[in-house]
Each structure stands twice: as structure tokens, then as C-alpha cells.
Subunit: 338 residues, 2 copies
Amino acid sequence: MPGPTIRDVAARAGVSVATVSRVISGSVRVSPATRQKVEQAMAELGWRPNMTARSLVRGRTGLFGVIVPDVANPFFAELAQGMALAAASLGVRLVLLHTDLSEERDVAAIHLCRDHRLDAVIYTSGALSPAHQEAFRQVGRPVVLAATFDPEGQWPGILVDSLTGGRMGARHLLSLGHRRIAMVGGPSTDPVAAGPRWEGWRQELAAAGCLPPPNWQLEVGWKQQYGYQAAIRLLREPERPTAILCGSDVLALGVLAAAADLGIPVPQELSVVGFDNLNLAALWRPSLTTVSQPIGLIGQEAVHLAFRLVAGEPAPPTRWLSPELVVRGSTAPPAPHG
Amino acid sequence: MPGPTIRDVAARAGVSVATVSRVISGSVRVSPATRQKVEQAMAELGWRPNMTARSLVRGRTGLFGVIVPDVANPFFAELAQGMALAAASLGVRLVLLHTDLSEERDVAAIHLCRDHRLDAVIYTSGALSPAHQEAFRQVGRPVVLAATFDPEGQWPGILVDSLTGGRMGARHLLSLGHRRIAMVGGPSTDPVAAGPRWEGWRQELAAAGCLPPPNWQLEVGWKQQYGYQAAIRLLREPERPTAILCGSDVLALGVLAAAADLGIPVPQELSVVGFDNLNLAALWRPSLTTVSQPIGLIGQEAVHLAFRLVAGEPAPPTRWLSPELVVRGSTAPPAPHG
DNA sequence: GATGAAAATGTAACCGGTTACATACCATAC
DNA sequence: GTATGGTATGTAACCGGTTACATTTTCATC
């Protein structure tokens, strides 16, 4: 039942265990004849080294922990996909830990990374509480923040500048001539993905003198159905908005569904702007104008960064990427009668 | 740098390492006074047991390998989400391995599971080649197939009966009165997710006497853009179909996008049936009529099954779930002038 | 053929837990 | 006071690799 060990291979090849170890690690010179004998013994026994034992002595597992709220959310699915791509190319494995945005489960997941001596932790779930900070300190391994950041600058991260992104979306609508613009975004308690987008929208709309009343600034949860509900409320008003800024593509798709159900044509009578540029955004009809984040790239770079930190490089400062406006079919100038 | 070990805790509590081990494993009785001393020492040192060391001696890692072609594909994202849910409730962790449907990478991933002594392997990627079978045999751990199956019945699995599902979709269109029905499905080399669906469609259409010519039976890849391209071709014909059966929801969404781009109203002039019932299917407009698989449940049950196998239960036979037709807004009777 | 440095290989300690087995302790029974 | 048995704890081997250090072999040089 328990497979062959390095000692079985050594015995069969007529060498010591150290020599077998040298052959598989490849770092030290081994004479060709010996190497050949060992390789043959390995093949005959079908032996493969036990990574658990190796990890114990080396103190490295070759595993990175990835803490994600929910991979069924396309944003995190695309992020995870980018990470998996990079991990494969670097010869590293990812341990996926779901937390459903619960702080308690986040902290438990971080401790788990420590228990398993994972080489690094990549955290994507959102804002950091003191409990997160404390848990990160205790893991004693590199921590990388993907698509989020640490206001105290203690943990390096990579993400898009949401403030600029928010302003881009707002300016696009203003330049098309919209003035009756509503907003549907995430909870502003989220200082990474919601707060700065709200801020960017408000700055631009206020500068243009068309900041709407609070009941046109709907702070909802991140789920698509909340976008749907918010849009239904906005679009049933007698003087409805001509455009809606959304805090994420998922919310925007909810808004588009609501418009379709109410028979309001997009973009003729309503323009919609998303945020993220999910793969879905191009696939939808009407295709979604959105502020693009390079999601896959963020995932890849997060893993590369973690890899470099594990190798001993110093932690760089938070890396800010620029968002880009992608204009598609969901935005147009407001209807003339508007 | 290297944190405290069990020996540090033992020394501080004035007991032996065996006693500390007993306290954390909880299986054997320890006097309350001793337990208290040990727990205090643990807390003071901030010690947590090293799972790598534990795994080495116990021969169990508490990790399950999950082999997936691509989590950015919503089907696999929802599957992974179900697995993560079950894993969390069972106290097990998932190692995510991407393979992009490459047999070579599949096999490498399986070997990796063996190297790391993962407790079980959950495979989701598709059909099994002899190379897969051989690699599975070598891991020496339970293997579970999620949303796929082994024709030889050697590895247990859980999946939906695609033949019945295919027939359901076809019957739905026939009962609405459609007779000019085209099909867009996956490569029939895929004996799990494509072959049986084609078979089910053809059986029903042949029985109704309206099996279309081969150029209305389009075998394409699984990606959404292939669905789009196939639909463009079908819908540009002078005598175009009144309905299209799709091998997956992702393909169906491509078809819907193509219809929208060609100005063909769905469901008035074209009915579309998907397969999978992704979360997206309800969100889309028009909402998608589809053959439903309980994707999240399949993921959860796969993990539960793996857990039971690890605990020593015998492998059950492949478990077949029944698909269900979910009628939404993308299907209707054919236009009368049809 | 002796010498010494470099190359190849072996020996054994070690990584940090678990657990079989041995021992110490205490209470009850005779 | 000794035998009996159950509970609590300690000792040390072990899981399967790695690697520091020691030893042997090889080979160029004088």
C-alpha cells in the first residue's frame, strides 16, 4: 500500500539515499553511470518523490493560497484563470479558498495557509480589517493583494485605479450629452471597488453641474439582482434618467435586463456604462460599454509577484494600473426629445 | 524565522511532546489541568501545528486535487463553486489544477496530485484516454469524475444523462410546432457532453420525420464565438431554421448574440434552446430556455463522494442525475407565416 | 610512486509532527 | 500491605525526504 520510498530506489540502484536525492534535485554533480542506474531504478519501481516529505525539510511547499469570495462570480473566475495560467508557467500550485466575503472565514482561510505552510497568500476578497492585518502578520509568508490594496501600504498589491475609472465612465456619458445620469454601485463601505468609483462619478457630475439627488445614487450589494431591482426603481420614475453608471459589469447586466423587461431600448432611450470589462460584456446584446480592468493580467501579475517575494525580493509598492474606457453598443447620445 | 515547534510548546508547558500532540488531536484523554497548561503555552507562543509534518506521518494531507480545463468558463466556475462549498463544510481544501483540455497537461496534473499525496483527485475535464486511465491507476488514491464518466466503469462519477437531456430539448421544440430545426453542438469526439446530446436530438427529430441535412448539424468547439459564427451561417440562409438546438448555454448565448446582430427577434422568429442552465441563462434577455443540469450539486456531491472514498467506503457505480427542461423566454411556437 | 586537490559518494542528523510502547500514578479490593 | 486495573504521561522510533560533513575515488602533477 505505501509506495516505494527513496530507500527502496537507493537499494535497487546500489547507491545511497543521498545519491538518489542528488539525482532528482539535479543541483549537485552525479556521475553519468550512477545517474543512469538511479534513473532506471526509479522507472522500474515507478517511484516519484514525496512532496510532503520534501516540503517538511525544505520549508517550501510549492503551493500558494488564493483567497477568493466566490469563483462563480465571473470577475473572480477570470482573476483565478489568470492566476492559474501564471502558476502553471511557474511550476507552482494554487490552493483555492472560498470565503463568501465573511471576515471570519477570511481569517480562518489565512490561518489555514499558515497551518499548511503555503509559500504565499494571494488575497482578493476586498477591504482589510484589523483582523485581516493581524492574520497576515502571523502567516509569516509573503502576502499579495490582487485587485485590492492596503491603505497602510504594508502588503503589496496590484489593482486598477478605480477613481480614474469612475471619472472615465462619467465623462463618457457627459460628453455624449447626458445630464440626467443615475448611479448604481457597490456598498461604499468597500473602500477599494466601490468608494473610489462613487467618488469619481460624483466629482465629474458635480463639475458638470448635474449631480443627481440621493435617490438616484443607489448603493446596493454586488449581486446582479440588486442591479436589476435598482434599475426597475429608477426606470419607473416619471422623469427617468437617460443614463446609468454602474459599479460593475454584473450590476450593469442586471440594469440591461431591467431595461429590456420594461421595454426601454438601449442605447436609444437609455445608456448604460459598466465597470470591469468581463468577457461577458462583449458577448451581451446590446454589448456593454464599460471601464476595462485587465483582470486576467492582474491575476497573472499577482502570482508572479508572489513568486518573486518567495524568492526573497523586496516587496514593491502597490502597483496601480490604468483603466481604459471601452465603448460598445450600450451608450449613445440621449434621445432628442429627452 | 522558523516559528515555534511542538517541542517549544512542550517545554513551556512543562510536559512532553506527546502530551501536546494529544491535546491538539483531541482523541486521547488528557487531564484538565494539563490541557489548560498546554493551551496556555500554545496561545503564548502563538503556535499552530505544522500540517506538512502531520501529513507526512499520517499519510493524509486534507487536500483534494481538482482538475478543470478552465475556470473562466462559467460551467466550470459554477462546478468549482459547488466543490468549494462542500470542501469548506467537510474541512478539506482544494488544489486547483488547470489543463486547458490538453491531455498532456491532464496527465501531468494527475501525477502532481500523486507527488503531493493529495487525498483524492476530482476530474472534470472530459473524456478519458488510456493515458488518463494509467495515470489514475498510479495515483493510488480515490478518483472521482464530476460531470464526466468512465465507460469502463472503473472510476465512480456523477453526471447528468445527456441523452435524455438532448431528447427533452428536441421534444420541446417539436411540441411547440417547429419542424425546421438546426443544431449547434460540441465536437462529437466528446463522448460525455456532446455525443449523447447529438444522439438525443437526432433520435427525436428523426422520429418526427424532420431530421435536417448535415449542413444544419454544426459540430463546433465549445467556445461562445463558435456558436456565434455557426448561427450567422445558419441564419443567413434563404430558408433559415425556425429553431436552433444548442449543446451548451455558452453556445446558445453566442447564437442569441448572432440573432440580435442580424435583427432576428427571439423568440418570435427564432427559438433557441440551451443546455446547462448556467446562472447566466436566467439573466440574459431574452432569458434562455434550456436543459438544466444541477451544476453546483454535481460539484458538491463529487466532493462528498471523494470524502467518503477517502474514509474507506467502497466506490459506488456512476450516479446519473436527471436533467430538467426549464422553459423561459427564448422559445415560442414558430411564426405562422413560417 | 607519492602528493594533493577536486569530484563522487556515503553516513547520519534533521525537518515537526504522531503514536506504539513503557512507565508512573492513584484508587479500590483483598 | 500487596495485588489489580485504569488513567495520565513520557520515551523514542518513525514518516520520507534533504543536506552538512566525512570519506573514498579519481586524476593531474612532480
